[in-house]
Amino acid sequence: MFKTFAIAASVATIGFATIAEAQTPRRGGTFRYTAGYGSSFAGMDIHTSNRAQDEIWARAIHRTLYNWDSDANKPVPELVASSTVSPDGLVHTLKLRDDAFFHHGRKLSADDVIWTFNRIMDGSKSYPGARYVRVIKGAVDVEKGQAKEISGLRKIDDSTLEMTLTEKVDPAFSFMFFVTAIYPADEAAKESFATKPIGLGPFKFVEYVPGSRLVAERWEKFYKPGMPYADRVVISIMGEAAARDVAFRNKEIDASILGPVQYVAYQADPNLSKGMLEVAEVFTRHMGMNLSYKPFTDKRVRQAINHAIDTDLIIRRLVRNKAVRATSWLPTSSPAYDESLKPYAFDPEKAKKLLAEAGYPNGFEFEWTASPNESWGIPIAEAVIPMLERVGIKAKIKPVEATVLAENMRKGDFQAFLYSSQSGPDPLTALKCYHSATPVSACNYVGFKNAEVDKLLDDAAATDDAAKRLANLKKVNAIIQDEAPIWFFNYNKAVMAYQPWVHGLQANSTELAYQDYEKVWIDETSPVK
């Protein structure tokens, strides 16, 4: 298993992940980071937002039971010091860290975890984290208002907690997301908490200027020895890529996520190209086909579409190589990624033959719902349409906003769509989107149904044999490739530019913008003293 993770990690980290790690980290300085996925944060209560933009700030202030280890490419215990699991795999006994202190000075206790999870399951609210906490026995009862407390959570002592799950899953994959960050039970109920958050993270809150920045300073009682290295972290909200580019070149910010246009420019620059961190993220860009729409009901039609599109050309010319060619659903950073799978070859003649066999020798027409996104939206669809026309398929773009696209997908209101979906980090969770029991409104947007896939997924979920589980998941991934319910476009290659004085950034495949700030250090050449 370890070997698999190690291989996956090495595949995930494409570029220059080992940034001067041999140097001794320096304490002090300010890390000036950016949140580039919008013009504001939802607020200072991370339980209310599952957007990547908000997790960027939350990682400075808060902590979760588990965390993603970018080097190992897997979730690892964070607030959990150790754990044991019952033979049936359902009861987890979690020993919490005894050196974790909230920013108001109180030690973390099992009560805080119980209070936090009960809050998230409050049926009168709609906290996105309920999706993850629901795996605990009795959580649904709290959600429905039939119980006040989650029965599957039991405090053994101040630092020990028993967690009973409803199914045999790794809780690490559920409780590594910051929508489940642990709050201090005594403080979080107060109204002031929504504006002045208190967490267990490496930095304590100093100020939040809505729409502008969040400032946090080192928490001296943070539980990792010697960390955090930086004195302060300033997270500026900068939604415009062009503005981030100027600010970065002007040395006003220390690190910034790059878009395709900047990626090419930075690669071509001899100085800027030295400070680029790249990783294949767990997002699969694809064209989803509605499997209840007549031409797409036929596997040969779907395969024909995959053969008709010169995917490599689009990745090269339009996405500027800021992507990895997709072979199936699971991305290269997934432990169940199968390197032996080869992508669909660009073969228009084969596409025509498949269409003829399916009864569409003259092709057909369909409506393609897409948003304006430059990497997985209308610009891509416009490049694909002439390729499809060469084999007789006429596609008409239905342009919509990203919000409308998400809504249409949830309702199954489309013939085809172009989107980027989360396809990791847990391969089982990612592939469950293709289980027939998963509703369209969850993530089985195309309405995929395959008895063999269902059985393999059920067996993978039930087994204790890690190797068998991995083998099952690889089989499912291969079946999905063959069934081709989607056009396999690419896995996002995320790129971050960083200044020469920044060290310790992590190639996080779950989202490159998510950094463990405590590991980042700033050397003495930084212009901010």
Binding site: S126, A130, N250, E252
Partner: protein, 310 residues
């Protein structure tokens, strides 16, 4: 005067109601909801049960008539509702963002007035001269240039190349204000320069100016007492209208310079379908517009006694 102000305030009520109704109808018919916006970044999957609960909690399943009734009732109590996203009262969300926008708009208008009005005046005094030609070409260019592009050019030149000013930021250091204010102020500057020039030229040829000159009044007095005073009414009207539109145009500049004002809030709120905030922000912008126009009307009447409060 008092009756004029009361009348103007009463006139704003149907306008505000009409705007409120239009915004409500618009955002009731456009597709997409707050719940679906939470997964629109292609990075998050929303749990169907949470989406359902969220929709219920926010009252989005209620019939349009019920929602509109609730909205009007809240509005009558000066309550703009609660933000779907931040779960704070909309008034609080808007209060946090109004200051920066006003700061930016006042700075942009000050820049426009200080440069635009004298420029138009000087150009009009010697029409067809070099100053006139250069200033009018600049004015036309200023009106035509897209703000986003201009902002980027300013950033590139004054931050990156010359290193004189920061490219983004807010608070404390007044230098943060310079580039966004210039980017926002160039268009009103150009319009003010052109309007002033046209107004002064028109007045220069008026009978009362010719009479004043023929009676031997010095050129300085003609300019001060007749040209400037009469042109000021037109200039003031333009300033008032421009102040209102600058608040609306701040959207692009605020987003580019990461300025935490109403504009960037509005963009985010529309994208995320945070309807109460969108409704509140648009209403606030409309109220600003009405308020500045009332002030301008009062000032015009004070400057020119021929204008009645009617």
């Amino acid at each position: 005067m008092l009756s004029f102000l009361v009348r103007r305030v009463l006139q704003t009520i149907p306008i505000v109601l009409a705007v409120a109704f239009l915004i409500f109808v618009l955002f009731s018919v456009i597709p997409g909801t707050f719940a679906s916006s939470l997964s629109d970044d292609g990075r998050s999957i929303m749990d169907p049960a949470v989406v359902e609960r969220m929709t219920k909690e926010l009252g989005l399943n209620d019939p349009v008539a019920v929602r509109f009734g609730r909205y009007v009732l809240q509005l009558a109590q000066l309550d703009l509702g609660t933000s779907f996203r931040t779960r704070q009262p909309v008034t609080q969300v808007l209060a946090e963002r109004t200051g920066p926008t006003l700061q930016l708009c006042f700075a942009a208008m000050a820049f426009a007035i200080i440069i635009g009005v004298p420029l138009g005046f000087i150009a009009a005094l010697k029409p067809g001269g070099m100053v006139d030609t250069i200033s009018m070409v600049t004015a036309v260019s200023g009106l035509s240039v897209p703000k986003f592009w201009l902002g980027l050019i300013l950033m590139y030149l004054f931050a990156l190349k010359l290193g004189w000013l920061p490219s983004f930021g807010y608070g404390g250091d007044p230098r943060y204000l310079v580039l966004p204010a210039v980017a926002l102020g160039v268009a009103p500057l150009a319009l003010l320069a052109r309007t002033t020039r046209a107004a002064v030229l028109e007045i220069m040829n008026a009978d009362f100016v010719r009479t004043a000159r023929s009676k031997g009044m010095s050129e300085g007095r003609v300019v001060r007492w007749h040209l400037a005073r009469n042109a000021l009414v037109i200039v003031l009207t333009t300033v008032g209208l421009q102040f209102g539109s600058v608040i609306g145009q701040a959207v692009v500049v605020e987003k580019l310079f990461s300025w935490p004002g109403l504009g960037s809030l509005l963009v985010d709120s529309v994208t995320l379908r945070d309807i109460p905030v969108v409704q509140g922000a648009i209403l606030l912008i409309v109220l600003f517009f009405l308020f500045t126009n009332t002030i301008v009307d009062v000032l015009c009447a004070l400057i020119d006694p021929r204008i009645k409060y009617s």
